[in-house]
């Protein structure tokens, strides 16, 4: 009797164990499929129509097709890229934009780059990195406000922690112990991203003098961010301008070569800049 009871007890215990294991296993096996479903696109393809078009194209093309150049266009590939074409940039000001792109380019190659090269010769890289970190640290209110507006409270908390740690231990932001020691990564947000987060489209592509590629939404978003930037509250106007200009210049000196490398790989550099900017903004808004 005792033995039976013991065995029954053990059986019940193992039954419970198995049921909980089954439930947790089912739970864990469903999570990846949800993520997968979220991540995958929901495009419906009319495969018959596509296939007919492919057949026609095949007949029109040369009879001898080597394996390398076969005309079989996988629908899945084409659809992946055509979906993104829906996000094609609306560009009514293309004449002005192209002109401004050339202006900014000349400004970079004629003025900014030679000066930045000289500057980077005089000031060693660790110093310039530290100055860059200081400027980034000062822009904390912009990031905090926009993270809160997007209801990203965890990121807002991380940003606050980073600011506190870097200003004190990192000595006014010249160091970044929050990232190097505590692995707290920055969460950059601006008002353009906030507007995009809540569904506002980018409007049209617009190249700003000095600032470079932008769009209607992001350019408008610079206005609220202006009031959140502590540098703008310094009394003397010329000091504000020169501080901001210096910050931008210092940042350029750290990335000499990136712009040139981008130009090297372009057939139509204006289109490349435009699409890269838009795709990059879309990614930043999503994350």
């Amino acid at each position: 009797m005792k033995l039976r009871r013991v065995i029954q007890k053990n059986c019940i215990y193992s039954k419970q164990k198995i049921i909980t294991f089954f439930i947790t296993a089912a739970f864990f096996s469903f999570i990846p499929s949800f993520i997968y479903a979220d991540y995958a696109s929901e495009h419906e393809i009319d495969k018959n129509v596509e296939k007919k078009q492919l057949d026609i194209n095949k007949k029109l093309s040369e009879p001898e097709i080597t394996e390398e150049f076969d005309d079989d266009f996988d629908d899945e590939f084409e659809d992946e890229f055509e979906e993104n074409a829906d996000l094609k940039v609306f560009d009514p000001l293309s004449g002005y934009n192209r002109f401004m792109t050339v202006c900014n380019d000349k400004l970079y190659f004629w003025a900014l780059k030679p000066a930045a090269k000289g500057y980077s010769f005089v000031v060693p890289e660790p110093g310039r990195l530290a100055i860059n970190r200081c400027f980034l640290n000062i822009m904390f209110p912009v990031r905090l406000a926009n993270n809160l507006l997007q209801l990203k409270f965890k990121n807002a908390g991380i940003e606050t922690l980073r600011f506190g740690i870097n200003t004190t231990i990192g000595i006014l932001g010249f160091g970044d112990p929050a990232q190097s020691r505590l692995k707290l990564k920055p969460c950059p947000e601006d008002f353009g991203q906030t507007l995009g987060h809540y569904g506002m489209g980018s409007g049209f592509y617009m190249v700003l003098p000095f600032f470079g590629p932008s769009n209607l939404r992001d350019a408008m978003g610079k206005i609220p961010d202006y009031f959140l930037n502590p540098v703008n509250y310094i009394e003397e106007g010329y000091a504000v301008m020169s501080i901001k200009a210096y910050g931008g210049f210092n940042s350029i000196s750290l990335h000499i070569g990136a712009y040139e490398s981008l130009q090297k790989g372009a057939v139509d550099f204006y289109i490349l800049l435009r699409d890269s900017y838009e795709q990059n903004r879309i990614m930043k808004i999503k994350e």
Binding site: F22, A25, E78, A85, N132, E260, Q263, K264, D275
Partner: protein, 219 residues
């Protein structure tokens, strides 16, 4: 018996989710190739050209260059080309692609690579990688598909910008107003080993072709 049956059932369900051989294979493949590439980039005792040729040797099998050439033109333009045009375009485009990849690798300066877990998206695999440098991190995404030769990269995204789609829109812009020969000429004129001066003069960025002389060309 019922307990054992349900236990095996759980194992089956869990097993099918976690035992994804393709993802493991892709992860190992890319990790070994990139680690080998970094070893070469960090070597000091060989010339730059030697480094470049070795890198091309290692990295080329990973990419499906002919597929990329096809996708860069897209369904709208590729089927309409003659065989000779296809070959000419593909050769020059693939050459430029390889050059641009090598240029990007030359910008490497002790970045740490953080491999994330690959994801299955429809029939393809997306492999996110993070390059952590001194002051910022760059997120990359390698997109692979299963070809006859195995899993192979057909596109890469850098900071959310898909390389193939940028070529698509550039080529679309050129082919809307010109022919494939114009595009081939532009690809040939692409100066991938240019000096520090601006390349925009060659790119005819303004609607009307005006020549702006650059002052102070540095070599």
């Amino acid at each position: 018996m019922k307990a054992f049956f349900s236990f095996f059932l759980c194992l089956l369900i869990v097993g099918t989710v976690f035992a994804d051989d393709d993802i493991d294979y892709v992860e190992k493949l890319i990790k070994t190739k990139l680690d080998a590439m970094i070893l070469i980039l960090e070597k000091d005792d060989i010339t730059q050209q030697e480094k470049e040729s070795r890198i091309i040797e290692i990295i080329s099998p990973l990419f499906d260059f002919s597929k990329m050439a096809k996708l860069a033109l897209g369904k709208r333009y590729w089927p309409g080309l003659s065989k000779k045009e296809k070959k000419e375009y593909s050769d020059i485009f693939i050459k430029r692609l390889k050059e641009s990849y090598v240029n990007k690798f030359n910008l490497y300066t002790d970045e740490k690579i953080n491999y994330k877990t690959p994801l299955r998206v429809k029939k393809k695999i997306h492999f996110p990688i993070e390059l952590i440098s001194k002051d910022h991190s760059v997120t990359m995404l390698c997109k692979l598909y299963k070809s006859k030769k195995g899993w192979i990269i057909y596109d890469a995204e850098v900071q959310g910008v898909s390389v193939i789609s940028t070529y698509r829109s550039q080529f679309d812009q050129v082919l809307r107003k010109g022919s494939i020969d114009d595009l081939i000429i532009k690809l040939q004129q692409m100066d991938t080993k240019s000096a520090d001066s601006s390349n925009l003069d060659n790119l005819n960025i303004l609607p009307s072709t005006t020549s702006i002389k650059t002052i102070g060309n540095e070599s």
